[in-house]
Chain length 290, copies 2
């Protein structure tokens, strides 16, 4: 990583610790962010601020994006003073946010037509994973581009998988979000029934340990439900957005996902009740109250 | 276990290997089953056949039931020539099948009024778990009765948990079945979407390994979906029955389980399409075909 000039755009809850990990591993970082406070903080540590995504691209070989949604990626990449305006020949753009699949394929095409490589590499593991460089990273794109991105990605997470061509990382992330949301729903219904029967949910969680019903969600989010601790973690509002994005994708490719649709509706209810900023395991509250 | 006289009623796919494990560990078994073929086979190994559940109870201190459904338990326990007619004072009855919670509480009361102990101790882990003595066992009943049952249960499985009072084991089993069924649904929708996007589901499963979306179901049943191998394992017909039993229980205690209801409906579809004898992971077929 020594002397590799890495651009990093989007220094939020996830982006900031990821940029710090790249900096510590020897990368020379050029950063850009809408809010300036974090930029000043990271500049004090030796990173170089740039006034626009274009200027980031002009000064680097690899540009990492960690933005909140698809419109933000489109703006930063294709908009005025965007990455594409400043991109050097044979650069590499890595989008690590959760971006819709169909636009991702367009972004990849635009960057490749400009003579550079594009990798979509969304992550799972939350802020803790970002801080501890323990992210699960699902990458899509051409094999040679993935090989180029791998040293950078390996700094950020332990499990880096090349899933397929452009957009395949985002497909894997959609699959991830479907499973996380629906498994939270499954654990919520099971524990709500348990409590309604007057049985201690803690004991049921213990009894299921290691069996067919066991999952990372039961381990972590089942415990949150039992404790009534819904400090995020992953926000319900984000989970709903991700499920809706998966449903939009499903419609685009002609597959119906009835359980995902129902789960999205349960998150709608949770958010209507004011739970949008709670951890996604607060779905338990929607089940319990009926 | 040496010289403990154990009755075993119900020698099917699960009961037969469980009886064999008790026999090997030194128990003196008295057995009864509707079909006589397995009885002859086990008698050749040294177990003692009895003509009725009553006769089993007359000759033993502990009576284990491993029957297919709640009506069978009621018949064997309370029916003519049933266990209750032959029960010695201070015996112990252990029901290890998946039996409805409300009737289980009645069965416990009837046995306790006859001066004996009752434990509900349903299992998870399938035939493999039964053969390898690796069952997960969820027990409900009085603490002293559980302590009495524990040496017997420990021969059959590694994870034996006392969940709570009478019926609590069956509540845990209902929770188990909800989570297993709904997690299969979650993995099915995620992998169906993956394939509809033209992405290799094998790679997505690999990418999610160890992350928040990881579960025993993804590990085992996700692989079955990818391989299209729906040889049971656990039958879809049984999964539907268990989900319906959980829904009936939910109704009895006044909690609504929308995702469980939807999942039961998907199993209805699978069974209508002729998939009742396929492994429950064949739910994948219902999603895929839309």
């Amino acid at each position: 990583m020594d002397n590799l000039h890495i651009g990093f755009i989007g220094l939020g809850l996830m982006g900031k610790p990821m940029a710090l990990n790249l900096h510590r591993s020897g990368g020379s970082l050029v950063i850009h962010n809408r809010s300036q406070e974090v930029v000043r903080e990271l500049a004090d540590l030796g990173m170089t601020p740039a006034a626009s995504p274009r200027e980031v691209a002009q000064q680097t070989e690899v540009v990492v994006l960690m933005l909140s949604d698809t419109p933000a990626v489109e703006r930063v990449l294709l908009g005025e003073k965007g990455v594409l305006e400043g991109l050097r020949a044979k650069s590499l753009v890595i989008d690590m946010g959760t971006t819709a699949v169909m636009p991702t394929r367009e972004f990849a095409r635009a960057v490749e037509e400009a003579g550079s490589d594009y990798i979509d590499a969304p992550v799972s593991g939350g802020q803790i994973g970002a801080i501890e460089a323990g992210l699960t990273i699902m990458a899509g794109g051409r094999t040679d581009a993935f090989e180029r991105a791998k040293p950078v990605l390996s700094v950020l997470g332990g499990n880096v998988t090349h899933v397929g061509g452009a957009g395949a990382g985002q497909v894997a992330k959609a699959a991830n979000q479907i499973i996380v949301g629906l498994t939270i729903g499954a654990v919520a219904e099971a524990l709500a029934l348990t409590q309604a029967c007057g049985v201690d949910a803690k004991n049921v969680r213990e009894a299921l340990k290691g069996g067919f019903a066991w999952s990372r969600i039961m381990e972590l989010h089942g415990q949150r439900m039992i404790d009534g601790d819904f400090e995020p973690g992953g926000r319900s509002e984000t989970q709903r957005k991700d499920l809706q994005q998966a449903l939009d994708l499903a419609e685009a490719v002609g597959v119906e996902l009835p359980a995902t649709r129902l789960c999205r509706g349960l998150y709608d209810e949770l958010i209507e009740q004011g739970g949008g900023n709670l951890d996604h395991s607060a779905l338990f509250n929607v089940i319990r109250r009926r």
